[in-house]
């Protein structure tokens, strides 16, 4: 159990918490990876980067003013959307391969560091639980990520074209 307001303005680093956090977990998170098993109101408020994984219910106003980073929320009941402030973010299933492996890795580390039975249950029944995760991503951030990906692909292409063996 963690008191209110944790991980305020964190830049990098990782935190794994077996238990439930209070209000404003990961407020202004700008780069940390955090896993927790439930949260209070205003989780991920003003978040600008990093990853937040909530393996349980959240309070009201999730992701208010969140402009960067990604959150994954285990939504077993299916009512997460009501608790989320969708002003800046978009909700969707975890489908992208990179996303799935990232989430799996984070929960895996959570298990490693905390021996959480919950993490164990999720990982052993992964196929069953994966569809119950919701990915929360700010629209603006998604756009920037896509642009960065595109640039990266272009760069690789150019590099590939520049590769010595392809030169004549």
């Amino acid at each position: 159990m963690i008191q209110t307001i944790t991980l305020e303005r964190v830049f990098r680093g990782e935190v794994y918490i077996q238990g439930v956090a209070g209000e404003r977990f990961c407020v202004r998170n700008s780069g940390a990876k955090a896993v927790v098993e439930g949260s209070g109101d205003h989780c991920c408020e003003y978040m600008t980067g990093g990853r937040t994984v909530v393996l349980g219910t959240t309070g009201r106003n999730f992701a208010a003013g969140m402009s960067g980073g990604i959150a994954y929320v285990l939504d077993e009941v299916g009512d997460f959307e009501y608790y989320c402030n969708t002003g800046l973010v978009e909700l969707g299933p975890v489908e992208d391969k990179a996303d799935i492996s990232e989430l799996q890795e984070l929960i895996g580390k959570h298990l490693l560091y905390t021996q959480s039975p919950l993490a164990n249950k999720l990982l052993t029944n992964w196929e069953e639980f994966l569809p119950k995760f919701v990915k929360v991503i700010p629209l603006e951030y998604k756009k920037v990520l896509n642009e960065m990906k595109l640039k990266e692909v272009k760069r690789k292409l150019e590099l590939a074209e520049d590769a010595p063996d392809r030169r004549e």
């Binding site: 159990m1 963690i2 008191q3 209110t4 307001i5 944790t6 991980l7 305020e8 303005r9 964190v10 830049f11 990098r12 680093g13 935190v15 209070g22 209000e23 404003r24 407020v27 202004r28 700008s30 780069g31 940390a32 209070g40 109101d41 205003h42 408020e45 003003y46 600008t48 980067g49 309070g59 009201r60 106003n61 208010a64 003013g65 402009s67 960067g68 009501y82 608790y83 402030n85 002003g87 560091y113 700010p138 603006e140 951030y141 756009k143 920037v144 642009e147």
Partner: protein, 1318 residues
């Protein structure tokens, strides 16, 4: 004995501003088994929260601590006191005057009322105390403490009411007596159920002082405790908590309104339980006590009058119940129904309460104060502000949890159960068919049918009306147009450099004489956009809260508004209502133009008489209207009318019966509306603003259909109102209504005392005559030379205009300063400073009305300019808001002259650390952008920015398009992603939180000074006192004139006070509290010349901040385009091309500061002081220059600025010693030793420690040491591995760096991993 209360208001100090914050908690046996162990545990909980309280300047006097328990019947039997069976007698400690005669007199009065209520005195007992344990300050006001026992053979609830009646009457009688030490008298409790011990203690002194508490015969199943951190050091034994039913951690922001509404309600109260005796209780709220005390008074009254405790609490602190809140419909109906009976007591609150049987806790809707509980297997429950206040083994614990925002936890010790929130509230919502009652009786404005539409077009009247009400070109084209087009209020930049309304010789609207208050430190502002779920503009009008002790369907016969701004047609609907619960009277706010000032006053008085008549005739609303202005009739200012009617009706106890609607041409800006609601209006119809939009649409200035433009305009006002109330930490317009959260600047005492009672006002100012004259200037302008053509005057409020309002930074002053600094010519600088000083005395600024006394000495004897320049700092302007070139030029200049430059919010390139471009001051603002451990360790001063002069109480937003790669890198964010700075620091919700952040920062960098930046407003002095007690080294008081890169125009103009007010009040308050010697004071706000610095120094400042002046010397020409990224001087822009135009040099800044210090030396020689230190706080060397005046200033009096408190003879009036908090015993010292090898050579270490909640900020100092050696890089991953077992204190793992891994087995308190850097 010293007076047992706050000092009387004097100078700029006012005891009304006192705040406190605290640690609270309770221990209870759920099954109600009484034992001494429970009391012991309660006392331990207190001691374990010691760090949340504070001590006074003598370092021994606590701010207050106390305990509430069940009446210890067995203890009294063991003392052989002749008490009857439990429940048939009452008792309580009595604080009495130290003077024997007066004490006896007070006791007699109490005896008298006890007998009058049909109770029999059993005996008085001397309470054994050990006075040697308390501090000097507490001792000086220590009361005589005795205990009274009385009996009465009644049912216990009846007995409770009789004890209450006796207490209330005794309190009132003594309060109204002539006793010299009457302030000492207090009954902490007087009950047959509970008993309270409290006083001016630190937590551990409580146990030692009252010997009763350690007596094993004293038993209880309940122990509720409280320790206090207050912003003052004045002895106030009676304000220690718990109060009779509650202990409160938090602050009620709407208290002024709540108190007035309660007062107004008294005339309508009827209770079966009290019958005709109810008047004996009045006033329900004891005057002159704290916000928590007033809350307790009201709760106690509601409870004794028959409402259950949870019911009363849900009424006073309702949770948010709009659609974003997942609570049942019938509970929403319960809240909505009760919102028509009482407005919320709004503000951060964690509250624990008990009546001896029930004990529980609740949190306000935002949940800003933590509250945690543990339930053990052997039926103990412990709740506290922190986890770990009682230590249990893991296998003893049954359940742990925390209170959630808006939720309750209730224990019934008689039935031996815990009642969860849902059950409590389900029961409450079933009490009555609230939902049906609402449906049947409450009207919703939009559902009322329209009989006739009322057009916004007022035809030919628009020309003269726009002149009578002073609509300027700027207001039309910037304010109204932008709001109607974009639904946003306009943004502007740089500071406010125009004169105060009362110092300007131009006529002003009456609104301009007021300033918004805002929350800083002691409670957080709210983000109304991101946290909209707790906000509401819903409001009701009609006969609100008739008898709050009853519940009938009729209570909600009201009209509900979703927005308080109504259209002409909406107003028409209300006028057309024919229902008997919805009748109205229209009262004109007009006066005849030919009657002179006397005629004005006559019309004004008649308006008040009419309002009272409307109540007597059972009308439900008053419509105050200025619709009928013409050549013969001019308008009385709408704000004056509303406030006067509101206060007149409160005084005559007729206010609750009627709602006030304003139909006025005058309001158009957000500030205007906020003022009208804050002084009692319920809804406003701004018909001329609508007509103006209609005009702009017809002129095709606004290219939108009228209906849409009007909708946008109303929306922008709504948004703006939410911003204004959230600035103050208030969630609902309903509780803002009548809360008077403004300060008057330049209004006469006559008006304030009569119609703005409770509003701070410190310099006097305009009265009827001047207001009449102002109204006539506008009226004459409209009707003396009538023209057909519509035209608007150029006022120049926002931008400098040739014929317009005076701006301190004008083409002449800007030009002279740039010429002087570029050519390094002191004579030109003297021309500049003469121009500025003369203009200040036109007058424009308070400093221009002050002058000093002469006693010349040779200038050679005055300390050198180099010394003086060390006192200069530059303002916090981030790299991001200004260009790299400008930012570095300033840093270099300040490093050369020995002053200090400031990073601003947004980090700093690590490449600058250790070079001459390093900023000595590193700022920590609410967004914490770029605040890494390495950043902190490279500072000489760490500045916590609580508020900014231009927009105090607001957050900010840096749009994604401005964030390029470099800025994103410094801020540790992603390029292109918008960055939002929240309005509050999310780790500072109270004064003890600020103390915690200061502690964090001092741990990371023990060599740096910590400073806290506040903005001047009424009450800033008491906040500063709290900050000083929280171990800040420097306190910065910023004037509201401060500059900005981008802020809402209305915030720049209307929030906060000029720097002179802030610095003088802070100085006086700190001296009175003997805290001045511990801190340095710094001031900023439109400082330009040596004269400005000297005056500010005499008012109390030691250091001086310059921002705009420095920018101007670098080439700024005050285009006010900073928010647009188009700065033509290449300063406030990131645009590559524009930055090439930057021609500034560090040398120009150096020249400017050299000139100022040279000038200061000349003045010091004139005054006759050799060292600047000898000037600080010397208000005795200042006087008001009565030659500086204008037609409005007849009643302006600056004597409050010049008040030297009598304590100045005893205590320092400037900084004399450091404000050190001992860091020797932090566990990091051990960690650093143990990890020595790892730090030095990177060798891996594994450490293990036990931990408890008093061990705070673990890891920060260790990390600071690593940053010092390795910079941003840190150590390789997992070099230092620590495992902790137990409950971690606040800020566990704060500012950890790479290479340090912490593992915690157990719980953690707030701020885990705050500011983790890698």
């Amino acid at each position: 004995m010293e007076s047992n209360s706050f000092p009387k208001a004097q100078g700029l100090y006012d005891p009304k501003n006192e705040h406190d914050a605290c640690g609270i908690g309770f221990v209870a046996h759920i099954k109600g088994h009484k034992s001494h162990d429970i009391i012991e545990r309660g006392l331990t909980v207190l001691v374990n929260m010691d760090h949340r309280g504070a001590t006074s300047s003598d370092n021994k006097t606590g701010d207050g601590a106390g305990i509430l328990m069940q009446l210890p019947h067995d203890f009294y039997l063991s003392l052989k006191i002749a008490v009857p069976e439990a429940g048939k007698y009452g008792t309580g400690l009595v604080f009495l005057p130290e003077d024997k005669k007066e004490a006896d007199h007070c006791a007699e009065i109490l005896n008298k009322f006890v007998a009058a209520e049909g109770l029999q005195l059993i005996s008085w007992r001397d309470v054994p105390v050990d006075s040697s344990v308390i501090g000097e300050i507490a001792k000086r006001s220590e009361p005589l403490i005795r205990q009274i026992f009385v009996k009465g053979d009644y049912e216990q609830d009846i007995l409770e009411r009789k004890l209450f009646l006796a207490r209330k009457q005794a309190e009132r009688s003594i309060r109204e007596s002539n006793l010299t030490q009457k302030d000492a008298f207090c009954l902490p409790s007087f009950s047959s159920k509970t008993l309270i011990y409290k006083g001016m203690f630190t937590p551990d002194q409580l146990r030692d002082y009252f010997k009763d508490l350690t007596n094993p015969a004293m038993t209880s199943a309940i122990a509720l405790v409280h320790s206090r951190f207050s912003t003052n050091t004045f002895p106030t034994w009676s304000l220690a908590q718990p109060f009779r039913m509650i202990a409160h951690n938090g602050e009620i922001n709407t208290i002024k309104g709540n108190r007035q509404w309660m007062h107004a309600r008294e005339s309508l109260l009827e209770s079966d339980l009290f019958g005709s005796e109810i008047e004996k209780i009045f006033p329900i709220i004891e005057p002159g006590k704290s916000d928590s005390a007033s809350f307790d008074n009201t709760l106690e009254f509601l409870h004794l009058a028959g409402r259950s405790m949870p019911h009363s609490i849900c009424m006073m602190i309702p949770e948010s119940f709009n659609e974003k809140n997942p609570i049942p419909e019938d509970l929403k109906a319960f809240y909505e129904y009760h919102s028509t009976i009482m407005e919320p007591w709004d503000g951060p609150a964690s509250m624990v309460f008990s009546d001896g049987r029930y004990i529980g806790g609740t949190l306000d809707r935002s949940g800003l104060r933590p509250s945690r509980y543990v339930i053990t297997k052997n039926d103990l429950i412990v709740m506290g502000s922190e986890v770990g206040v009682q230590v249990f083994k893991a296998d003893e614990i049954k359940e742990k949890g925390r209170l959630r925002p808006g939720k309750l936890l209730l224990v019934d010790t008689e039935r031996g159960i815990i009642i969860p929130d849902q059950e409590v509230k389900a029961e409450l919502s079933q009490r009555n068919p609230y939902g049906d009652w609402l449906k049947e009786n409450r009207l919703e404005l939009e559902k009322i049918s329209v009989r006739q539409r009322v057009s916004s077009n007022i035809g030919d009247l628009f020309g003269p009306y726009s002149k009578v009400f002073g609509y300027s070109k700027e207001e039309m084209m910037i304010v109204i147009k932008e709001m109607a087009e974009t639904a946003q209020e306009p943004t502007s930049s740089m500071g406010n450099d125009t004169p105060l309304a009362v110092l300007s010789d131009k006529p002003k609207r009456f609104f301009s004489y007021f300033r918004q208050l805002f929350a800083q430190v002691t409670n957080p502002p709210i983000d109304p956009i991101r946290e909209g779920l707790v906000m509401s503009l819903t409001h009701y009008i009609g006969s609100v809260s008739s008898n709050i002790l009853e519940e009938t369907p009729n209570h909600c016969s009201l009209i509900k508004f979703d927005s308080p701004i109504i259209t002409n047609t909406d107003l028409g609907k209300i006028k057309d209502l024919k229902h008997e619960s919805f009748t109205h009277a229209i009262i004109p706010m007009l006066f005849p133009v030919n009657g002179g000032a006397a005629g004005f006053k006559k019309a004004f008085d008649a308006m008040l008489v009419e309002a009272e008549k409307a109540v007597d005739e059972n009308k439900n609303f008053i419509i105050l209207s200025d619709r009928n202005v013409d050549e013969n009739m001019a308008p009385i200012p709408s704000l004056l009318s509303v406030a006067a009617v509101h206060h007149h009706l409160i005084k005559s106890k007729k206010r609750m019966q009627i709602g006030i609607i304003v139909e006025s041409a005058e309001p158009r800006e957000i500030m205007h509306f906020a003022l009208l609601f804050g002084y009692g209006a319920s809804v406003v119809n701004p018909y001329l603003a609508f007509a103006a939009i209609d005009y702009l649409v017809n002129e095709e200035e606004i290219k939108l259909p009228y209906a849409e433009a009007r909708k946008n305009y109303i929306k922008s006002i709504d948004k703006g109102l939410l911003k204004v109330i959230s600035k103050m930490g208030i969630s609902t317009l309903q509780s803002y209504h009548g809360a008077e959260l403004f300060e008057a600047v330049g209004v006469s005492d006559e008006l304030i005392d009569n119609y703005f009672k409770g509003t701070p006002s410190r310099i006097g100012g305009v009265s009827y005559e001047e207001i009449f004259k102002e109204a006539m200037i506008f009226h004459d302008d409209a009707y003396k030379n009538p023209t057909k053509k519509v035209s608007f005057s150029t006022v120049g409020e926002y931008h400098y205009r040739n014929q317009g309002e005076f701006h301190a930074w004008n083409p002449q002053s800007v030009g002279l300063l740039q010429w002087a600094t570029k050519s390094d010519d002191y004579q030109t600088y003297k021309k500049f400073s003469k121009l500025v000083d003369d203009q200040n005395a036109q007058p424009a600024f308070i400093r221009g009305i002050l002058k000093w006394k002469h006693n010349p000495i040779p200038i050679e004897e005055v300390e050198p300019a180099e010394n003086i320049m060390k006192r200069f700092v530059t303002g916090a302007m981030s790299y991001g808001s200004i260009s790299k070139e400008a930012h570095e030029a300033i840093a270099v200049a300040m490093n050369i002259i020995g002053g200090r430059s400031n990073t601003g919010e947004g980090g700093e390139d690590a490449g600058r650390f250790g070079t001459d471009r390093n900023s000595k001051i590193k700022q920590i603002a609410s967004g914490r952008f770029g605040v890494t451990n390495n950043y902190l360790i490279n500072a000489q001063e760490l500045q916590i920015k609580i508020a900014q002069g231009a927009k105090p109480g607001e957050g900010g937003q840096l749009p994604g398009f401005k964030i390029n790669k470099i800025i994103a890198k410094l801020r540790h964010s992603t390029p292109g992603i918008t960055l939002i700075s929240p309005p509050p620091h999310h780790d500072i919700y109270s004064i003890e939180d600020l103390a915690q952040l200061i502690f964090d920062l001092k741990n990371v960098n023990p060599d740096a000074k910590v400073s806290v930046k506040l903005v001047a407003e009424s009450g800033v002095g008491t906040i500063a006192a709290g900050v000083a007690k929280g171990f800040s080294d420097i306190i910065i008081v910023s004037g509201c004139e401060g500059g900005t890169g981008a802020s809402p125009a209305s915030s720049i103009k209307h929030a906060g006070l000029p720097a002179e007010f802030g610095i003088a009040e802070t100085q006086q308050t700190l001296v009175m509290n003997n805290l001045r010697g511990r801190v340095k004071l710094q001031v900023d706000g439109q400082l330009k010349t040596g004269r400005d610095v000297v005056i500010m120094g005499m008012l109390g400042a030691e250091e001086f901040g310059f921002a705009t002046g420095a920018l101007i010397s670098l080439g700024c020409i005050m285009m006010r385009k900073c928010h647009l990224n188009t700065c033509p001087a290449g300063i406030a822009t990131q645009n590559k091309e524009l930055r090439k135009r930057f021609l500034g040099r560090s040398q120009f800044v150096i020249n400017y500061f050299t000139f100022i210090s040279q000038e200061i030396r000349e003045y010091m020689a004139e005054i006759g002081v050799r060292n600047f230190d000898d000037l600080v706080g010397r208000v005795d060397l200042l006087e008001q220059n009565h030659e500086v005046t204008n037609w409005k200033m007849k009643n302006v009096d600056l004597s409050k600025f010049l008040n030297l408190p009598k304590e100045a003879k005893l205590y320092p009036i400037r900084n004399t010693h450091p404000n050190t908090k001992n860091l020797d015993d932090v566990i990091d010292k051990t960690l650093i030793k143990e990890a020595n090898k790892a730090i030095k050579s990177g060798e891996k270490v594994w450490l293990s420690h036990s931990i408890h909640n008093a061990m705070r900020t673990v890891g920060a100092m260790l990390s600071g040491q690593i940053s010092k050696r390795y910079g941003e890089e840190g150590l390789p991953k997992d070099t230092i591995n620590c495992t902790f077992t137990g409950t971690a204190g606040q800020s566990f793992g704060a500012f950890l760096v790479k290479g340090v891994s912490f593992k915690l087995e157990g719980d953690s308190n707030d701020y885990l991993g705050k500011g983790l850097s890698r």
